[in-house]
Symmetry: C2
Subunit: 212 residues, 2 copies
Amino acid sequence: MHKELHLLGLLRAGPRTGYELHRIVVAHGELYTDLKKGNVYYLLERLAASGALTVTTQPGAPGPRRERLIYTLTDDGHRRFHDLLRAVVRDYEVAHTGIEVGMVFLGTLDPVEAIALLEERREAVLARRAVIERETCAVHNPHQRLAEDHLLCLVDAEMIWLERTIRHLRTDLQHAHPTADSVVTAPAPATHPSPPSSRCPDVTANPSDRPI
Amino acid sequence: MHKELHLLGLLRAGPRTGYELHRIVVAHGELYTDLKKGNVYYLLERLAASGALTVTTQPGAPGPRRERLIYTLTDDGHRRFHDLLRAVVRDYEVAHTGIEVGMVFLGTLDPVEAIALLEERREAVLARRAVIERETCAVHNPHQRLAEDHLLCLVDAEMIWLERTIRHLRTDLQHAHPTADSVVTAPAPATHPSPPSSRCPDVTANPSDRPI
DNA sequence: ACGCAACAAGTCAGCCTTGACTTTCTCCCC
DNA sequence: GGGGAGAAAGTCAAGGCTGACTTGTTGCGT
């Protein structure tokens, strides 16, 4: 849905070809949703079919292709843009990335390996954060700043959770094996009310739990 | 990818039908990825075709359908489960929800309306947080706790960003219209280095910026 | 003048996902 | 003892999305 918004928004600045639109999107790197070329053409065609855009073909252009499809926003397209914009800003959905599923089954791994994997993840988070910051350091449009800020907020939240979780698993490990070759660093007074390790029936794969 | 992991993980506890698997997933509500019924059957069939599962048909069962398809994890499936689990825990991707795109075009709305929309969003975030907490309050498996914690971390990050952004836009608005009927509350000493409102050329729709 | 690498512009088969539909069975109420 | 609500179990067409492919056009080195 926000992909349509993106295209409509870019077309507000004037008619463009699909190729140009795609180039603009990828030029901004991490900041936006990734919108593949094929998808751009698909969405443009659909928007045109629904009346939000008109297509004109430019025959004798100095471009490399002898004819290219140029998309122009209609009045209805303008309206659609604003409606979509409102909807996108108003609505909130949590993004399920899959780490939740991973965590639920983390107990099936050797605890030492689990911690090592989470540390690899931390490296990945740091790397991604660096990319975002580098890619957006040249951006000074204030609203783009807010978008960048949002992205960084999420990355930082992931980082905080990760560090807390790693600490938590480390202390668990130490309680289980106090004689381990622990290179553990901090006793970690958890910031949040750290999850209590109470033993309870595992609902992970019980088909009869909560039948509704 | 984590959808396959989810199914394989649930099947580790024993053979199940697609229907049972789907019921287990939806029973856990917000916590996991949403996995629609049709998709479950599709993924199971694909996993079976690739040798991770075997299918057996149970003819004279006391079930409602006279024959149901029962999926069982193979040794290869076990291996795949662990490989996927490692990959899911190790890899990190930022989740693009679309609010970034929304923010970039927020300037095309009346500032007062923009703030109102973000406040609606705040309500949505609060509501979602309440749902997550209510749905998972009965969960005491320690690893599920960690997954829940992750979700809450992301929601809280969204909340922090939202409040900061609303404050920021409010002060901008007041600087522009100091005589407005402001019901504004706090002068808001921003926590982060709040984004400076420097005026700069708008890259939003420039087809020639950063050609690579 | 020639070949070849890169870019402009777009197309397409095929995979993933979803929502809506079907069929059978059970339960329960009148 | 009939019939309607609902659960069990699954199917399917259609839509969204992607990666790999095509086809012209420059530009450039030799």
